[in-house]
Symmetry: C2
Subunit: 214 residues, 2 copies
Protein backbone atom coordinates (compact mmCIF):
# COMPACT_ATOMS: atom_id res chain seq x y z
CA UNK A 1 0.00 0.00 0.00
CA UNK A 2 2.75 2.43 0.91
CA UNK A 3 5.67 3.41 -1.34
CA UNK A 4 8.21 4.68 1.15
CA UNK A 5 10.91 6.86 -0.43
CA UNK A 6 13.44 5.71 2.18
CA UNK A 7 14.28 2.44 3.97
CA UNK A 8 15.08 4.33 7.16
CA UNK A 9 11.65 5.91 7.13
CA UNK A 10 9.92 2.64 6.30
CA UNK A 11 11.79 0.84 9.05
CA UNK A 12 10.87 3.37 11.74
CA UNK A 13 7.23 3.41 10.64
CA UNK A 14 7.02 -0.39 10.66
CA UNK A 15 8.59 -0.65 14.12
CA UNK A 16 6.27 1.99 15.60
CA UNK A 17 3.24 0.38 13.93
CA UNK A 18 3.95 -2.83 15.90
CA UNK A 19 2.83 -1.06 19.07
CA UNK A 20 -0.75 -1.79 20.12
CA UNK A 21 -3.24 0.83 18.94
CA UNK A 22 -0.78 2.47 16.52
CA UNK A 23 -1.47 1.92 12.83
CA UNK A 24 0.71 2.78 9.84
CA UNK A 25 -0.84 6.22 9.36
CA UNK A 26 -0.32 7.20 13.00
CA UNK A 27 3.21 5.78 12.91
CA UNK A 28 4.04 7.87 9.84
CA UNK A 29 2.63 10.97 11.53
CA UNK A 30 4.75 10.31 14.64
CA UNK A 31 7.87 9.68 12.54
CA UNK A 32 7.42 12.94 10.60
CA UNK A 33 6.96 14.74 13.93
CA UNK A 34 10.23 13.22 15.20
CA UNK A 35 12.03 14.24 11.99
CA UNK A 36 11.04 17.87 12.54
CA UNK A 37 12.39 17.81 16.11
CA UNK A 38 15.94 17.83 17.44
CA UNK A 39 18.29 14.85 17.31
CA UNK A 40 18.62 15.07 21.09
CA UNK A 41 14.93 14.26 21.51
CA UNK A 42 14.91 11.22 19.24
CA UNK A 43 18.12 9.96 20.85
CA UNK A 44 16.51 10.30 24.28
CA UNK A 45 13.38 8.47 23.14
CA UNK A 46 15.24 5.67 21.41
CA UNK A 47 17.68 5.16 24.24
CA UNK A 48 14.99 5.23 26.93
CA UNK A 49 13.17 2.42 25.10
CA UNK A 50 16.32 0.32 24.63
CA UNK A 51 17.52 0.84 28.21
CA UNK A 52 14.06 0.20 29.64
CA UNK A 53 13.87 -3.32 28.29
CA UNK A 54 17.55 -4.14 28.77
CA UNK A 55 18.11 -2.78 32.27
CA UNK A 56 14.75 -3.08 33.99
CA UNK A 57 14.71 -5.28 37.07
CA UNK A 58 11.90 -6.67 39.15
CA UNK A 59 11.64 -6.68 42.94
CA UNK A 60 12.57 -10.14 44.23
CA UNK A 61 9.79 -9.99 46.81
CA UNK A 62 6.73 -8.54 45.08
CA UNK A 63 7.75 -8.77 41.36
CA UNK A 64 7.05 -5.09 40.85
CA UNK A 65 9.22 -3.10 38.43
CA UNK A 66 12.06 -1.66 40.48
CA UNK A 67 15.48 -0.06 40.08
CA UNK A 68 16.69 -1.90 43.20
CA UNK A 69 16.75 -5.60 44.07
CA UNK A 70 14.04 -5.06 46.70
CA UNK A 71 11.58 -2.31 45.75
CA UNK A 72 10.96 0.80 47.85
CA UNK A 73 7.63 -0.52 49.15
CA UNK A 74 8.95 -3.96 50.15
CA UNK A 75 12.00 -2.44 51.85
CA UNK A 76 9.90 0.10 53.77
CA UNK A 77 9.65 -1.08 57.39
CA UNK A 78 6.84 1.39 58.08
CA UNK A 79 4.51 -0.72 55.97
CA UNK A 80 2.57 -3.72 57.22
CA UNK A 81 4.24 -6.78 55.71
CA UNK A 82 1.52 -9.11 57.01
CA UNK A 83 -1.01 -7.70 54.54
CA UNK A 84 -0.46 -8.49 50.84
CA UNK A 85 -2.48 -6.88 48.07
CA UNK A 86 -2.51 -9.03 44.93
CA UNK A 87 -2.64 -7.02 41.68
CA UNK A 88 -2.23 -7.60 37.97
CA UNK A 89 0.54 -5.16 37.10
CA UNK A 90 2.48 -2.04 38.06
CA UNK A 91 -0.36 0.26 36.94
CA UNK A 92 -2.57 -1.12 39.70
CA UNK A 93 0.15 -0.52 42.29
CA UNK A 94 0.45 3.08 41.10
CA UNK A 95 -3.33 3.53 41.21
CA UNK A 96 -3.66 2.11 44.73
CA UNK A 97 -0.63 4.06 45.98
CA UNK A 98 -2.28 7.23 44.68
CA UNK A 99 -5.27 6.66 46.98
CA UNK A 100 -2.99 6.87 50.07
CA UNK A 101 -5.37 4.36 51.72
CA UNK A 102 -3.17 1.27 51.79
CA UNK A 103 -0.22 0.63 54.08
CA UNK A 104 0.47 -3.05 53.37
CA UNK A 105 2.68 -4.53 50.65
CA UNK A 106 1.91 -5.85 47.15
CA UNK A 107 2.28 -8.98 45.08
CA UNK A 108 2.27 -8.45 41.31
CA UNK A 109 0.92 -11.38 39.30
CA UNK A 110 2.20 -10.01 35.99
CA UNK A 111 -1.11 -10.70 34.29
CA UNK A 112 -4.41 -12.45 34.74
CA UNK A 113 -5.60 -15.94 33.82
CA UNK A 114 -6.94 -15.61 30.29
CA UNK A 115 -7.12 -18.77 28.18
CA UNK A 116 -8.19 -16.67 25.17
CA UNK A 117 -4.79 -14.93 25.25
CA UNK A 118 -2.95 -18.14 26.12
CA UNK A 119 -2.18 -17.01 29.67
CA UNK A 120 -2.51 -19.80 32.23
CA UNK A 121 -1.62 -19.91 35.95
CA UNK A 122 1.88 -21.08 35.01
CA UNK A 123 2.61 -17.75 33.31
CA UNK A 124 1.83 -15.76 36.46
CA UNK A 125 3.69 -15.18 39.74
CA UNK A 126 1.36 -17.43 41.74
CA UNK A 127 3.79 -19.97 43.22
CA UNK A 128 5.76 -17.26 45.02
CA UNK A 129 2.52 -15.94 46.51
CA UNK A 130 1.58 -19.39 47.84
CA UNK A 131 5.11 -19.73 49.27
CA UNK A 132 4.72 -16.41 51.10
CA UNK A 133 1.45 -17.61 52.62
CA UNK A 134 2.97 -20.98 53.52
CA UNK A 135 5.52 -19.27 55.76
CA UNK A 136 2.66 -18.33 58.09
CA UNK A 137 3.62 -14.68 58.45
CA UNK A 138 0.75 -13.30 56.33
CA UNK A 139 -2.50 -12.28 58.04
CA UNK A 140 -4.48 -11.06 55.07
CA UNK A 141 -4.35 -11.41 51.29
CA UNK A 142 -6.40 -8.79 49.46
CA UNK A 143 -7.34 -9.75 45.92
CA UNK A 144 -7.43 -6.50 43.91
CA UNK A 145 -8.04 -7.69 40.35
CA UNK A 146 -10.36 -6.28 37.70
CA UNK A 147 -14.08 -7.06 38.08
CA UNK A 148 -14.08 -9.10 34.88
CA UNK A 149 -14.53 -12.79 34.18
CA UNK A 150 -10.75 -13.19 33.92
CA UNK A 151 -10.32 -11.42 37.25
CA UNK A 152 -12.92 -13.61 38.93
CA UNK A 153 -11.31 -16.75 37.49
CA UNK A 154 -7.90 -15.71 38.78
CA UNK A 155 -9.36 -14.83 42.19
CA UNK A 156 -10.98 -18.26 42.45
CA UNK A 157 -7.87 -20.12 41.30
CA UNK A 158 -5.64 -18.37 43.84
CA UNK A 159 -8.25 -18.84 46.58
CA UNK A 160 -8.32 -22.60 45.91
CA UNK A 161 -4.53 -22.85 45.86
CA UNK A 162 -4.24 -20.92 49.13
CA UNK A 163 -6.91 -23.05 50.81
CA UNK A 164 -5.17 -26.25 49.70
CA UNK A 165 -1.82 -24.96 50.95
CA UNK A 166 -3.21 -23.93 54.34
CA UNK A 167 -5.50 -26.91 55.01
CA UNK A 168 -4.71 -28.55 58.33
CA UNK A 169 -2.71 -25.55 59.54
CA UNK A 170 -5.24 -23.89 61.84
CA UNK A 171 -2.51 -21.86 63.51
CA UNK A 172 -2.04 -19.78 60.35
CA UNK A 173 -5.27 -17.77 60.52
CA UNK A 174 -5.03 -16.19 57.04
CA UNK A 175 -7.95 -14.08 55.77
CA UNK A 176 -8.54 -13.78 52.02
CA UNK A 177 -10.51 -10.72 50.98
CA UNK A 178 -11.39 -8.98 47.73
CA UNK A 179 -11.67 -5.25 47.21
CA UNK A 180 -15.29 -4.08 47.46
CA UNK A 181 -17.49 -4.27 44.37
CA UNK A 182 -20.27 -1.74 44.43
CA UNK A 183 -21.58 1.52 43.12
CA UNK A 184 -18.81 3.90 42.13
CA UNK A 185 -18.72 7.25 43.93
CA UNK A 186 -20.79 9.73 41.93
CA UNK A 187 -22.82 7.05 40.12
CA UNK A 188 -26.60 7.19 39.78
CA UNK A 189 -28.45 4.27 41.35
CA UNK A 190 -30.98 3.89 38.54
CA UNK A 191 -28.30 3.51 35.87
CA UNK A 192 -26.29 0.89 37.77
CA UNK A 193 -26.43 -2.64 36.32
CA UNK A 194 -28.31 -5.22 38.39
CA UNK A 195 -25.29 -7.41 39.18
CA UNK A 196 -23.34 -4.53 40.71
CA UNK A 197 -26.46 -3.31 42.53
CA UNK A 198 -27.21 -6.83 43.81
CA UNK A 199 -23.65 -7.27 45.07
CA UNK A 200 -23.72 -3.85 46.71
CA UNK A 201 -26.82 -4.85 48.71
CA UNK A 202 -25.39 -8.25 49.70
CA UNK A 203 -22.09 -6.67 50.77
CA UNK A 204 -23.60 -3.66 52.51
CA UNK A 205 -21.29 -2.01 55.04
CA UNK A 206 -22.08 -0.50 58.49
CA UNK A 207 -22.67 3.20 57.97
CA UNK A 208 -19.97 4.18 60.48
CA UNK A 209 -17.34 2.45 58.32
CA UNK A 210 -18.10 4.74 55.38
CA UNK A 211 -17.47 7.94 57.30
CA UNK A 212 -14.19 9.54 56.35
CA UNK A 213 -11.81 9.50 59.31
CA UNK A 214 -9.67 12.56 59.96
CA UNK B 1 0.14 12.41 39.80
CA UNK B 2 2.12 9.27 39.07
CA UNK B 3 4.40 7.50 41.56
CA UNK B 4 6.66 5.51 39.27
CA UNK B 5 8.44 2.64 41.04
CA UNK B 6 11.43 2.97 38.69
CA UNK B 7 13.33 5.81 37.02
CA UNK B 8 13.81 3.74 33.87
CA UNK B 9 10.08 3.25 33.59
CA UNK B 10 9.34 6.90 34.31
CA UNK B 11 11.89 8.03 31.75
CA UNK B 12 10.50 5.86 28.96
CA UNK B 13 6.92 6.92 29.74
CA UNK B 14 7.86 10.61 29.76
CA UNK B 15 9.72 10.35 26.45
CA UNK B 16 6.86 8.51 24.74
CA UNK B 17 4.32 10.96 26.15
CA UNK B 18 6.11 13.78 24.30
CA UNK B 19 4.79 12.38 21.01
CA UNK B 20 1.68 14.12 19.67
CA UNK B 21 -1.56 12.38 20.60
CA UNK B 22 0.08 10.12 23.19
CA UNK B 23 -0.72 10.89 26.82
CA UNK B 24 0.84 9.47 29.97
CA UNK B 25 -1.69 6.66 30.28
CA UNK B 26 -1.18 5.52 26.69
CA UNK B 27 2.59 5.83 27.08
CA UNK B 28 2.50 3.62 30.20
CA UNK B 29 0.38 1.07 28.35
CA UNK B 30 2.87 1.02 25.44
CA UNK B 31 5.83 0.73 27.81
CA UNK B 32 4.28 -2.22 29.66
CA UNK B 33 3.60 -3.85 26.29
CA UNK B 34 7.26 -3.38 25.32
CA UNK B 35 8.38 -4.85 28.65
CA UNK B 36 6.42 -8.04 27.98
CA UNK B 37 8.04 -8.43 24.56
CA UNK B 38 11.51 -9.53 23.55
CA UNK B 39 14.63 -7.37 23.91
CA UNK B 40 15.21 -7.74 20.17
CA UNK B 41 11.97 -5.88 19.43
CA UNK B 42 12.66 -2.94 21.74
CA UNK B 43 16.23 -2.70 20.42
CA UNK B 44 14.88 -2.59 16.86
CA UNK B 45 12.35 0.09 17.75
CA UNK B 46 14.79 2.24 19.68
CA UNK B 47 17.52 1.99 17.07
CA UNK B 48 15.17 2.66 14.17
CA UNK B 49 14.11 5.91 15.88
CA UNK B 50 17.69 7.00 16.63
CA UNK B 51 18.98 6.09 13.15
CA UNK B 52 16.00 7.71 11.44
CA UNK B 53 16.75 11.14 12.82
CA UNK B 54 20.56 10.83 12.67
CA UNK B 55 20.97 9.31 9.21
CA UNK B 56 17.99 10.59 7.23
CA UNK B 57 18.87 12.65 4.18
CA UNK B 58 16.79 14.76 1.89
CA UNK B 59 16.89 14.76 -1.91
CA UNK B 60 18.91 17.76 -3.09
CA UNK B 61 16.48 18.40 -5.92
CA UNK B 62 12.97 17.95 -4.47
CA UNK B 63 13.68 17.95 -0.68
CA UNK B 64 11.86 14.65 -0.25
CA UNK B 65 13.13 12.16 2.32
CA UNK B 66 15.58 9.90 0.54
CA UNK B 67 18.35 7.38 1.23
CA UNK B 68 20.31 8.71 -1.75
CA UNK B 69 21.54 12.21 -2.60
CA UNK B 70 19.04 12.43 -5.46
CA UNK B 71 15.79 10.55 -4.75
CA UNK B 72 14.46 7.72 -6.91
CA UNK B 73 11.81 9.95 -8.50
CA UNK B 74 14.17 12.82 -9.35
CA UNK B 75 16.77 10.42 -10.78
CA UNK B 76 14.19 8.58 -12.91
CA UNK B 77 14.63 9.68 -16.53
CA UNK B 78 11.27 8.14 -17.47
CA UNK B 79 9.51 10.90 -15.57
CA UNK B 80 8.67 14.33 -16.99
CA UNK B 81 11.03 16.78 -15.31
CA UNK B 82 9.27 19.78 -16.83
CA UNK B 83 6.20 19.26 -14.62
CA UNK B 84 6.64 19.91 -10.87
CA UNK B 85 3.99 19.04 -8.31
CA UNK B 86 4.33 21.18 -5.16
CA UNK B 87 3.31 19.35 -1.96
CA UNK B 88 3.54 19.86 1.79
CA UNK B 89 5.37 16.71 2.89
CA UNK B 90 6.36 13.14 2.08
CA UNK B 91 2.89 11.80 2.93
CA UNK B 92 1.44 13.74 -0.01
CA UNK B 93 4.08 12.29 -2.36
CA UNK B 94 3.18 8.80 -1.19
CA UNK B 95 -0.54 9.49 -1.62
CA UNK B 96 -0.12 10.89 -5.16
CA UNK B 97 2.29 8.09 -6.15
CA UNK B 98 -0.34 5.57 -5.02
CA UNK B 99 -2.80 6.96 -7.58
CA UNK B 100 -0.43 6.04 -10.47
CA UNK B 101 -1.79 9.09 -12.30
CA UNK B 102 1.25 11.39 -12.14
CA UNK B 103 4.44 11.08 -14.13
CA UNK B 104 6.11 14.40 -13.33
CA UNK B 105 8.42 15.21 -10.42
CA UNK B 106 7.77 16.77 -7.01
CA UNK B 107 8.87 19.69 -4.88
CA UNK B 108 8.38 19.27 -1.13
CA UNK B 109 7.78 22.51 0.76
CA UNK B 110 8.29 20.89 4.18
CA UNK B 111 5.19 22.57 5.59
CA UNK B 112 2.62 25.21 4.85
CA UNK B 113 2.44 28.93 5.66
CA UNK B 114 0.74 29.08 9.04
CA UNK B 115 1.32 32.20 11.16
CA UNK B 116 -0.59 30.56 14.05
CA UNK B 117 2.13 27.89 14.28
CA UNK B 118 4.90 30.40 13.59
CA UNK B 119 5.63 29.02 10.12
CA UNK B 120 6.37 31.72 7.54
CA UNK B 121 7.60 31.48 3.94
CA UNK B 122 11.19 31.57 5.21
CA UNK B 123 10.74 28.22 6.93
CA UNK B 124 9.69 26.49 3.72
CA UNK B 125 11.58 25.32 0.62
CA UNK B 126 10.22 28.12 -1.57
CA UNK B 127 13.42 29.77 -2.81
CA UNK B 128 14.64 26.56 -4.45
CA UNK B 129 11.29 26.22 -6.24
CA UNK B 130 11.56 29.78 -7.62
CA UNK B 131 15.14 29.02 -8.72
CA UNK B 132 13.93 25.93 -10.61
CA UNK B 133 11.32 28.01 -12.41
CA UNK B 134 13.88 30.77 -13.15
CA UNK B 135 15.97 28.32 -15.15
CA UNK B 136 13.19 28.22 -17.72
CA UNK B 137 13.02 24.44 -18.03
CA UNK B 138 9.70 24.02 -16.19
CA UNK B 139 6.48 23.99 -18.21
CA UNK B 140 3.95 23.47 -15.43
CA UNK B 141 3.85 23.85 -11.66
CA UNK B 142 0.94 21.99 -10.04
CA UNK B 143 0.02 23.28 -6.58
CA UNK B 144 -1.22 20.25 -4.60
CA UNK B 145 -1.75 21.64 -1.11
CA UNK B 146 -4.61 21.03 1.32
CA UNK B 147 -7.88 22.86 0.59
CA UNK B 148 -7.56 24.89 3.79
CA UNK B 149 -6.97 28.55 4.48
CA UNK B 150 -3.26 27.83 5.06
CA UNK B 151 -3.09 25.94 1.79
CA UNK B 152 -4.76 28.78 -0.11
CA UNK B 153 -2.42 31.33 1.49
CA UNK B 154 0.63 29.28 0.50
CA UNK B 155 -0.71 28.80 -3.02
CA UNK B 156 -1.22 32.56 -3.41
CA UNK B 157 2.20 33.43 -1.96
CA UNK B 158 4.01 31.05 -4.30
CA UNK B 159 1.92 32.21 -7.27
CA UNK B 160 2.92 35.84 -6.58
CA UNK B 161 6.60 34.94 -6.19
CA UNK B 162 6.60 32.93 -9.43
CA UNK B 163 4.85 35.73 -11.34
CA UNK B 164 7.37 38.30 -10.06
CA UNK B 165 10.27 36.07 -11.02
CA UNK B 166 8.95 35.41 -14.52
CA UNK B 167 7.72 38.90 -15.37
CA UNK B 168 9.29 40.15 -18.59
CA UNK B 169 10.39 36.69 -19.65
CA UNK B 170 7.68 35.79 -22.14
CA UNK B 171 9.85 33.02 -23.59
CA UNK B 172 9.39 30.94 -20.40
CA UNK B 173 5.72 30.01 -20.88
CA UNK B 174 5.14 28.49 -17.42
CA UNK B 175 1.62 27.39 -16.43
CA UNK B 176 0.65 27.35 -12.76
CA UNK B 177 -2.25 25.03 -11.92
CA UNK B 178 -3.89 23.70 -8.76
CA UNK B 179 -5.31 20.23 -8.30
CA UNK B 180 -9.08 20.20 -8.91
CA UNK B 181 -11.38 21.12 -6.04
CA UNK B 182 -14.78 19.54 -6.38
CA UNK B 183 -17.12 16.87 -5.20
CA UNK B 184 -15.29 13.76 -3.98
CA UNK B 185 -16.07 10.51 -5.81
CA UNK B 186 -18.99 8.83 -4.03
CA UNK B 187 -20.25 12.03 -2.39
CA UNK B 188 -23.91 13.04 -2.38
CA UNK B 189 -24.62 16.36 -4.10
CA UNK B 190 -27.17 17.55 -1.54
CA UNK B 191 -24.78 17.14 1.40
CA UNK B 192 -21.89 18.99 -0.30
CA UNK B 193 -21.09 22.41 1.17
CA UNK B 194 -21.90 25.38 -1.04
CA UNK B 195 -18.30 26.55 -1.52
CA UNK B 196 -17.20 23.19 -2.90
CA UNK B 197 -20.35 22.93 -5.02
CA UNK B 198 -19.87 26.48 -6.33
CA UNK B 199 -16.24 25.80 -7.25
CA UNK B 200 -17.19 22.53 -8.93
CA UNK B 201 -19.64 24.38 -11.20
CA UNK B 202 -17.16 27.15 -12.01
CA UNK B 203 -14.41 24.64 -12.78
CA UNK B 204 -16.60 22.19 -14.72
CA UNK B 205 -14.68 19.89 -17.06
CA UNK B 206 -15.54 18.61 -20.56
CA UNK B 207 -17.29 15.26 -20.13
CA UNK B 208 -14.81 13.46 -22.39
CA UNK B 209 -11.99 14.37 -19.97
CA UNK B 210 -13.68 12.50 -17.13
CA UNK B 211 -13.87 9.19 -19.00
CA UNK B 212 -11.33 6.68 -17.75
CA UNK B 213 -8.78 5.92 -20.45
CA UNK B 214 -7.62 2.34 -20.93
Amino acid sequence: LYNFPSKLLENAVNELAKLPGIGKKTALRLVLHLLKGDTINTDALGESIIRLRRDITYCKKCHNISDTEICLICSNLQRDHSIICVVEDVRDVMAIENTNQYKGVYHILGGIISPMDGIGPGNLNIVTLINKAAKGEVKEIIMALSATMEGDTTNFYIYKRLKACLSGRQEFNLTITTIARGIAIGDDLEYTDEITLGRSILNRTPYENTLVKY
